[in-house]
């Protein structure tokens, strides 16, 4: 990870790689796409059985697992697709409009 794009908004034509090549792998993690989300997943730790279905089904790798347990969602990249909530066998995940959280904060 050596491609410094911190100032990319000010880059002129000669600063970019030829042909719009992205010269390093995996840097999409730095691109926060969570802002696209309309509904936010909320997990009830009491109900959750740690079956990890949500972790496997999440299309954006946005279910954070530490050790063997789901601990959180990566809200910088979760787009609110609700696959986790749909697949959860014990309905431990529910979806809530983002607006609710904005009002609270």
């Amino acid at each position: 990870m050596s491609w410094d794009i911190s100032d990319i908004k000010n880059w002129g034509p000669d600063k970019h790689e030829k042909g719009a090549v992205i010269p390093e792998a995996g840097n999409a993690v730095g691109y926060r796409t969570g802002g696209w989300r309309t509904n936010r997943p909320v997990r009830d730790d009491e109900t959750c059985t740690q079956c990890l279905f949500c972790y496997f089904y999440c299309p954006d790798s946005s279910v954070i697992v530490e050790g063997q347990e789901v601990v959180d969602f990566d809200l910088d990249h979760c787009k609110g697709c609700a696959q986790c909530a749909t697949e959860c066998p014990v309905d431990a995940i529910t979806m809530h409009p983002e607006a609710e959280f904005r009002r609270k904060s």
Partner: protein
């Protein structure tokens, strides 16, 4: 010279296939179409006979051919293809992608009319349509030029300041199928001239994984990348000339962006692209014997266009006829005419001009047609007006 072989007689297509064989690119992905077919056919024979190391990809269309070339070039492979007319038209979408991804693909485009009415013969409407696609365009008069241009292509396209795809043109049937003289280079001289492909970011370098062809986002840098493409084109102009000069050191054959014939003392001049230049030179010999001061400018490098140079060359003549083998319907004239008018205006050169359209769909251009143009120019140099609208050469019925 040890660097060149004996003089031989070959078709334009055979000449280019030979050059490709000597280059021995990593990948050729191509689809046959008249009149380009025997470039690809000859090359596939070289592959079948084991005379080259090339991976030959037989694709199901020209769109696929160019797409395969893009993948191949992005993987870092030296990549070539060839097409004509409708085949080039079918590539259209990805022709732009190749240029914007800055991939130095080399393509032979054997000029043929676009439909319709459906027509397999020569004109320049296919490649002229692609003049804004971001490819370098070199037009060749005969088999020798087409061969030489093919050998010179990779050093231009792969130059670090350039990194652009390049297409070489020559006239369908007139050059592609007719037999003419060719003095090829030796295999070793070709290898030595083109050298090794410079190292670039590529898809097969697993130590340094990269992404090609990303989405530019909603508020991204598309605009800046387009500017970079144009800067690369500007940089290509001197690189092409340097390559022409280096080629001359090896072969003695000196090319220029514009090839000028008897322009030093010309009163009037014709500007033309491709095989018609040979016909024009024949006519000039006759007219010069009569005392007419006639000159000829043959355009080789069309993209990037040598704007300042064409204006300088034409600044000394009193009347110029620009011969277009393609039309730009609804515009003031054919594509070459528009380019030259813009150059003259930009450089402040005021000379009488006329646009002659010729050869559409393979219509013959006779020496008499060119003689008529030169005489019209001579009258204009003497004070007569030139037609303000297109003059059609060898048109039926009027």
């Amino acid at each position: 010279m040890a660097t060149t072989e004996k003089l031989m007689a070959v078709t334009g297509n055979q000449a280019v296939a030979m050059a490709m064989k000597q280059i021995d690119p990593d990948v050729v992905a191509a689809y046959p179409i008249t009149p380009q077919t025997d470039v690809v056919q000859s090359y596939s024979q070289y592959v079948a006979d084991g005379e080259v190391q090339t991976e030959f990809v037989t694709v199901e269309s020209e769109h696929s051919a160019m797409s395969a070339c893009i993948g191949s070039a992005a993987a870092g492979a030296r990549t070539m293809t060839a097409t004509s007319s409708a085949g080039f038209a079918l590539m259209w979408e990805v022709v732009y992608v190749a240029a914007s991804m800055r991939l130095p693909i080399v393509m032979t485009t054997v000029n043929r009319a676009l439909s319709g009415p459906i027509n397999i013969h020569c004109d320049h409407s296919d490649s002229m349509g692609g003049r804004d696609s971001g490819w370098i365009q070199i037009y060749n008069e005969d088999a020798q030029e087409a061969y030489d241009a093919t050998v010179m292509s990779f050093p231009i396209a792969e130059h670090p300041d350039v990194s652009l795809p390049l297409m070489n043109m020559y006239d369908g049937f007139i050059i592609s199928g007719a037999i003419g003289p060719l003095r090829p280079l030796s295999d070793a001289a070709v290898k030595d001239f083109i050298g090794e492909k410079p190292a670039v970011l590529n898809l097969l370098d697993s130590e340094h994984p990269v992404t090609f062809g990303p989405f530019d986002g909603l508020h991204g840098w598309y605009f800046e990348h387009k500017i970079a493409q144009n800067r690369a084109m500007e940089a290509a102009l001197p690189v092409i000339q340097e390559t022409y000069d280096r080629f001359a050191e090896v072969t003695g054959r000196q090319y220029q962006h514009l090839m000028c014939y008897d322009m030093e003392d010309a009163d009037v001049a014709i500007v033309v692209i491709g095989s018609a230049a040979g016909t024009a030179r024949t006519v000039m010999a006759k007219l010069k014997a009569e005392g007419l001061k006639v000159g000829l400018v043959k355009i080789r490098t069309f993209r990037p266009f040598p704007t300042a140079e064409i204006a300088r060359v034409l600044s000394g003549v009193k009347a110029v006829a620009v011969l277009d083998r393609a039309d730009s319907f609804g515009a003031m004239g054919g594509p070459l005419y528009l380019e030259i008018l813009a150059a003259l205006y930009h450089e402040g050169v005021h000379t009488k001009t006329v646009n002659c359209i010729y050869g559409l769909g393979g219509r013959d251009l006779y020496p008499q047609n060119i003689e008529d143009v030169f005489r019209m120019l001579a009258d204009a140099a003497g004070g007569a007006d030139l037609p303000q609208s297109r003059v059609y050469l060898n048109m039926k019925g009027e």
